[in-house]
Symmetry: C2
Subunit: 546 residues, 2 copies
């Protein structure tokens, strides 16, 4: 045996499970009087917030919640939601945040599949939650989270949240994970096919990605005041719920991320950071207050999703927001890549510069490994900005797997790599740019056509309200692109199929031009997603009958 | 078995060993053209630095270095030293940085005890290294590191460093740790009693503390330009050697940390950060250039050791340096606590404020747990700024243990806590202030007298060049403080024992006043440390014969 492995074992003094719970304890100790959470007229210091999280943990333990049980919550970005992020894991249980836009049958599925022992329900959602509990047919502890600022919202539980945490037993010790591989959260993907899959997060990944976000978003220099525009049920707010605790920052709660509410919060609290989808950037541009003053320090906006149009990026930057583009997924604790800014970009033409800034970029400090490979192989594609490959990840941010779904887990982790199912190009500088989902790419005459790219072009037409591009079978080319276009009400009769095809041909090579346009209202899921597999069938049917 | 532990195992896709090696790979990929290392007229980009580290790793493997072997290096803060921090671990070996101030017999002990397979020697130290290799009687690969900027320095090895890495085999893959608990470095404490102990660092701790330093020192906001004033052989530069790679910062090498060289570097490279001992602050104040201009952004100085005098802290801050006081030890990857600045301090009187800033403070984000307990117990002491207790740590920054010394390891980790042997008070706000080593505290009439506190008072006398306070036996009080005082040459005859005792009595309570003063030159070890156990015997003897 090697000398470096002899009598040099792990013990409590030199090895402790990595867990974000440590961050809460530290901020409560180090910054007890600093503001941790603000929601309308309520405000808690780090000491008070920590106490409330501990109370919730003890209350859950008092109610019989044990290690490895599931505790579900359906809530907007309110204090109880932030408290659940520590209180539930500190009871030893696993936190299951439910998407507040789901219908009752999807929620019922999750409660049953996750075997929830308790369910905390923001009264804004009591109706749908009540139906879900009934449909699930579970005998489950339901706790109402009341909010005097809500106009309605009935009581469906046996106890109200404040009452519940107040009656917590005082004499029980909170539970640390026995191992950093223990589960901390369960997040269902809103799968566009089949049943949702339950993604299981671990304390190790949550700790590492929380620290990763501190670095990605630069939560250090000035003490961060973070606005909750991103729903906390999305990957636990990309782990910012825990990351803010690592630095003792301030959470500003927000029930609805509308432009006027965001601007009010910026003015009132001197917001330094928030996260969002690219669409929020457009809302902010459209809703810019007439008296908007560019802030002294740019407000950092961590933005995930498709690259926003260059015009949007340029305008939002000029308004005093500094956009950090990132990319990730539920299966990877939220964020895996970011578009690291380079010194050499400073001298670029502003349009070229924002185009570079809008890419999904490079792996974060805690991501470990990323490859973009020809699908079905492990051959990295050329760094030419044109070739398209699947994005693969390997490292400590990947989930434990899908709950009670070993087949799906095995498939996702084939050959020791997480297969994202996303297609990207790699630019000369190594930065990736997401082009499409594997299953949505269109192969026309042997050429790849990105449905996303085509959608971007069509969406840039001023009369278009929404668009989905899918493949339809074609005798000559195998597949050709077909665009389903929803026009703005005032334009419904103003545009012909040929007009739109011509518009695209002026902006794209011939093989990328859609061969068919269907004008109609796009149908979406409860969470607002397009189901391309349904649209594909529908489009093929429509084109065949044309 | 719980559902969260079923079919949710670790695999390559979701679990990778934490290791700083990842940081090097990422910075080489993401910032290939950014400057990584500058030393006089040499400069390497991250891509070049990474290549050189890989070459070193392959050269070592080509020379037969295997997993778990030890590779020693004795070098100033030069590029090869930074390259060894990645190159040696990437060969699978353990890096043993040797204190450049040691004598040949201490070095020989380390080479033998650590079983070094290879020894890289900066030619500045070739004479002492040559003697050490001979004394060690080992058949060992010695590699000379030449430097055209050195006036002398003979060749003692079989090959020169540049030649060695140039002839590295190209076809071997570098070695990642098989487990994050694998050893990455071996650092001998300069033990003031007995043989030095070999502290073994692990990849996990090195990774976590590197990220911890990024947060502690705020290496994010502006791209850091880090000046190597702290010797890299001290705890691998407190893990900054790895931390800079996490953010793609720039290392500025410096052979000697003299005030004029530091000021030259600040002017030439726009230094943003450096680390040092408190004495360096005094050098900087004394050596301030006549044309010193306060920098636009304060230069962050991470300072470890005894609290610097308030006057020093105030002056250095006014000069445009922002001091972050920290505390740690070899056994904990360098740094465990920092003095987190609080918003409420901004309004304090400047003197009060810098006094607060000079304390050792609170645990860092990655430290996990700290307690200050009545020695011999696990009872936390009162937060009264007066009671004195031993500082204990528990967490992922602690060493694997002492190499080939299970007794010392067991003792250090008694009851699952690392016992620092340092005594501190805890202030009302939870911030600690180090008072003394346990074995140096003086117990006079049942009262604790901190030798450090007394030394501070005596040192504040303008005629004093150095001072050590130790306990001497006393019939009435058990022990009393005795000060050994070294006067500045121009004052050697100007002060009497009674003068000095009176000076102390005006500033301290009676029981803390020294009862004996011995004026003489202080003898120090090769590394400049005072050996209090020797001084204690000497003082007792001198006082008895008075």
């Amino acid at each position: 045996m090697n000398k470096y492995n002899t009598d040099l074992d792990k013990c409590q003094a030199n090895h402790q499970a990595l867990t974000p719970i440590r961050f809460l304890k530290r901020s409560a100790d180090v910054f007890p009087d600093r503001t941790a959470v603000i929601y309308k007229d309520r405000s808690y210091t780090w000491s008070e917030y920590s106490d409330r999280c501990h109370q919730l943990a003890r209350a859950l333990m008092g109610a019989g919640v044990g290690r490895g049980d599931t505790v579900a919550i359906m809530a907007a970005n309110i204090p109880a939601m932030l408290e659940a992020h520590f209180g539930v894991p500190m009871s030893g249980a696993v936190l299951n945040c439910i998407n507040i836009r789901l219908d009752s049958s999807a929620i019922a599925f999750m409660l049953r599949h996750g075997e929830a022992k308790a369910f905390l329900v923001d009264q804004e959602f009591s109706d749908v939650a009540k139906s879900a509990v009934e449909e699930a047919g579970l005998d489950i502890l339901v706790i109402d989270i009341a909010d005097k600022h809500l106009e309605s919202g009935g009581s469906i539980g046996t106890i109200e949240y404040e009452e519940f945490i107040k009656q917590a037993p005082q004499d029980v010790a909170i539970r640390y994970p026995e191992d950093e591989w223990d589960a901390i959260a369960l997040n269902y993907t809103s799968g566009t096919t089949g049943n949702p899959k339950g993604v299981v997060y671990h304390h190790r990944g949550a700790y590492l990605n929380a620290i990763g976000q501190v670095i990605n978003a630069d939560l250090i220099g000035e003490k961060p005041v973070y606005l909750w525009t991103l729903p906390l049920f999305h990957c636990n707010g990309w782990c910012f719920a825990w990351g803010l605790a690592a630095v003792g920052g301030t959470h500003i709660c927000l029930r609805k991320a509308a432009a006027d509410e965001i601007y009010q919060a910026i003015e009132k609290y001197n917001i330094t950071h928030f996260c969002c989808a690219p669409t929020v950037l457009s809302f902010l541009i459209d809703g810019k207050p007439s008296n908007w003053r560019i802030p002294d320090h740019p407000i950092k906006v961590v933005c995930a999703g498709a690259s926003p149009p260059v015009s949007v990026l340029r305008e939002i930057n000029q308004m005093g927001f500094s956009v950090i583009h990132v990319y990730g997924m539920t299966e990877q604790h939220g964020i895996n890549t970011l578009c690291e800014s380079q010194e050499s970009w400073v001298d670029l033409d502003p349009i070229e510069r924002v185009a570079k800034l809008g890419r999904q970029g490079v792996r974060t400090v805690v991501t470990d490994e990323m490859m973009v490979c020809t699908p079905g192989t492990y051959d990295p594609i050329a760094r030419d900005g044109v070739s398209i490959g699947e994005v693969l990840f390997r490292g400590n941010l990947a989930m434990k797997g899908y709950l009670k779904n070993p087949e799906a887990t095995k498939e996702a982790f084939t050959d020791g790599w997480y297969h994202t199912g996303d297609l990207a190009t790699v630019h000369e500088d190594g930065y990736i740019e997401i082009k499409d989902r594997i299953k949505d790419i269109i192969i026309s005459g042997g050429e790849n056509v990105s449905s996303l790219e085509l959608e971007d072009v069509i969406y840039s037409h001023s009369s278009v309200a929404g668009v989905a591009v899918v493949a339809v079978p074609d005798d000559k080319w195998g597949e050709v692109p077909c665009a389903i276009v929803e026009l703005k009400p005032e334009y419904t009769d103003a545009l012909s199929e040929q007009d739109m095809i011509r518009f695209c041909r002026e902006r794209l090579p011939g093989f990328k031009t859609p061969k068919h346009i269907i004008f109609e209202t796009l149908s979406r899921t409860a969470t607002g997603k397009l189901q391309k597999f349904k649209l594909r069938n529908h489009a093929a049917e429509t084109v065949k009958n044309k």
